[in-house]
Symmetry: C2
Subunit: 430 residues, 2 copies
């Protein structure tokens, strides 16, 4: 007896069968169309990068715990699987100094993180990024936010909020005005507000700061609201350079785009170390699936890889959550089991069947033939299980008369070979 | 002074800029269309697999030297990056016993090998596979070969040879008839004929075998030719069970497809351990780029992952070589620098420019706006550098009259806003 073993996929990683793939590919293709309509172009980079490319870019937690790290077998060099698509873009820009600017690229690809796998969170997952490199102007943020709004519109999400903030606002308010010495600890806690709640946050903050400051922070977090209003209040309360610069810049951004869904939220800080200016994320309010896009300006990242200091801004669309939420909302359905449009039922005339299949393929119809020498009933059962919409029956009679019997739903027609593909296309509505 | 360092990509891996990506995506998309027209459906699997999934599947050299291996940071499990797309398919089939058979899937994706990087050979590269699982009939091989011929036809390769052989033929001839004890050593050498030449092969074989057998092998390798003829000769010379079974099966395969380009070649053995029946590869004769497709039947691989013994056959299209050869043959050209169709030159009317851009995007035109606050000349220079075919100039006059000045090649026209996208589509011929 042979000893068998089952070899599953690694934890947090997934196979995608045809049904799921067809849904995912249609989502990717819709995103591609949106990206390209806004003038973004594709770029691809390796999944394996040198460890030094990632070092010092994401913050300690990501670097030490979440990166897939290994040593090159041959040269012994330290390597890692890419953690996001932003750092590889920065590395690419530094190596390609002659690219015309602004460089607008999108990238749909896999990234890897040792995360705790759960619904919508995986260790291997796809990101969809759009970035603009080379522009330090508010138009760049405006285009990225407009693109985000277009994605939400095209995918028919109605209840959502875009949280907007700016690293300069954070600095001006919490560091300069409130004089907080270890701001990163405070930001990390603020970022957890959704998880731990107001009372939880207050309790945690009190371990770090005097009560007065904690109260002030809690009040600031309540200011969340229409950007123009919150910015005016902040300018009045904290008229320092950072706050002025950020408010002025954000106002220019907001002038170019519809702002109904945009909320200025001082409590939204985004974890990654590399952001320098505006930051934003989109939260779908119903169903409660958390943020599905996130991004911001990272003006100093590219300079870390080379001489040129290039400003950059971008966003990442959490396509895994977009798909999970879309299925939950009923925006997407998993129903296609195959791309095949025609199944040929061969009643003992194999060569004729192959000839007809070739004819249909040449006319652009995805066509299956029997590959298992099966009887009529088994062939049509198989095609019906795959939900192939059109069946073509071919027997001696059809072969002699150079025709075919076409079945689609309740229709059944005998058709001359020369009219076959047109007839099928009518049935399919293509 | 900041200390800069350049961080390149790992050896044998590549960035693909927009120009190259647009070519690659068009090649992938053409391959997808062919695969789907033959009734193959997409499947995706993780790039990281458990080491045990690969163990014992590829032969010692691949397993020990060429697999990207690492230990999971958290659980300490042994992992590897996928080496091909066939083994993950086998693993998937074993885990999904209820999939309707035959399961016809294609897969275009990255694989990883510690190989010596050179032209057309990389450490991270894309494979395009089509496989049929569940059929033990010659129709399956015939469909795979027909698909291969279609790929060669669609990509306009005229001078090419499909080398056909069968593991059962090899066994019947070299093991049963010639009585060779260590056939794998001999096969490995035979596989190197192209590299080491006839004299080289003869010399190497003589180190392993007596002269008489070496002469017999060298004569057998010269029999290479039209399949029907070679099969008859082999049947006459070596009428044992394996040879009879293989010849009978191959004849059935060949009956279903055009055979002009097919050559029976006893010297083509293919390295991978898992093949059990027919094997085949396509060699492009001009330019001399070696094999660009390869595959065969592997009936016992899937059983290694689970209880069910499923027959399977497939082919892999070496898309990297296809692209490299296509560029060399002038079948592909690298010329598109962007997917953008329209560049808007904004002469101080930013809000009007954004409005027009939105209008064009909504009508399906990929449209760029200025993001850097540049002067007219810089804007149009930038668009021309990217070879964007249509420029739309918008100034005070155009904004007031609700119109636009459209420039394409030598044409320059003033157009009302409501006619703008139609006019541009006429220019673009879309």
């Amino acid at each position: 007896m042979t000893v068998y073993f089952m070899s599953p996929v690694p934890r947090g990683m997934r196979d995608f069968n045809t049904e799921v793939m067809l849904l995912r590919e249609s989502v990717f293709s819709r995103l591609k169309t949106i990206f390209e309509s806004f003038g973004f172009d594709p770029l691809e980079t390796p999944i394996v990068e040198l460890w030094e490319t990632f070092k010092g870019k994401y913050g300690d937690e990501a670097e030490n715990q979440m990166l897939y790290y290994f040593k090159d077998k041959l040269g012994g060099r330290e390597m890692a699987l890419r953690y996001d698509l932003t750092v590889p873009l920065a590395r690419f820009m530094a190596e390609n100094p002659n690219i015309p600017l602004p460089f607008c690229r999108y990238h749909i690809g896999r990234v890897y993180r040792y995360d705790r796998p759960q619904k919508g969170r995986y260790r291997e997952f796809w990101q969809c990024d759009a970035d603009i490199v080379g522009s330090a102007e508010p138009e760049a943020e405006a285009l990225i936010l407009k693109l985000t709004l277009e994605v939400m519109k095209q995918f028919k999400f109605k209840k959502f909020t875009i949280n907007l903030n700016d690293r300069r606002l954070l600095r001006g308010v919490f560091e300069t005005a409130l004089g907080i010495k270890e701001p990163n600890q405070v930001y990390t806690l603020m970022d957890k507000l959704d998880k731990i709640g107001e009372a939880g946050l207050e309790k945690e903050l009190k371990k770090l700061l005097e009560e007065e400051k904690v109260n002030e922070i809690m009040n600031l977090l309540k200011m969340k609201g229409r950007p123009e209003k919150v910015l005016s209040e902040l300018l009045e309360k904290f008229p320092n350079e950072d706050v002025k610069e950020a408010a002025d810049y954000l106002k220019k951004v907001l002038k170019l785009i519809p702002t109904e869904n945009i909320v200025l939220n001082l409590g939204m800080v985004r974890g990654l170390d590399y952001y320098t200016g505006p930051i934003f994320e989109t939260v779908v309010d119903e169903p409660k699936i958390g943020s599905i896009t996130g991004g911001g300006r990272y003006d100093q990242l590219i300079a870390k890889y080379g001489g040129k200091d290039l400003p950059a801004v971008g966003t990442s669309i959490g396509v895994e959550r977009l798909i999970d939420a879309g299925v939950e909302l009923g925006l997407f359905t998993l129903n296609a089991k195959t791309t095949a449009q025609v199944g040929i039922v061969n009643l003992g005339v194999r060569e004729y069947a192959w000839k007809v299949a070739e004819l249909l393929r040449n006319s652009g119809l995805a066509t299956r033939v029997d590959l298992m020498n099966r009887k009529e009933k088994k062939q049509s059962e198989y095609y019906r299980k795959l939900k192939i919409p059109v069946l073509v029956f071919l027997g001696e009679r059809e072969a002699k008369a150079k025709q075919a019997t076409v079945v689609c739903g309740k229709s059944r027609e005998e058709v001359k070979l020369e009219d076959l593909s047109a007839k099928i296309k009518t049935f399919l509505g293509v």
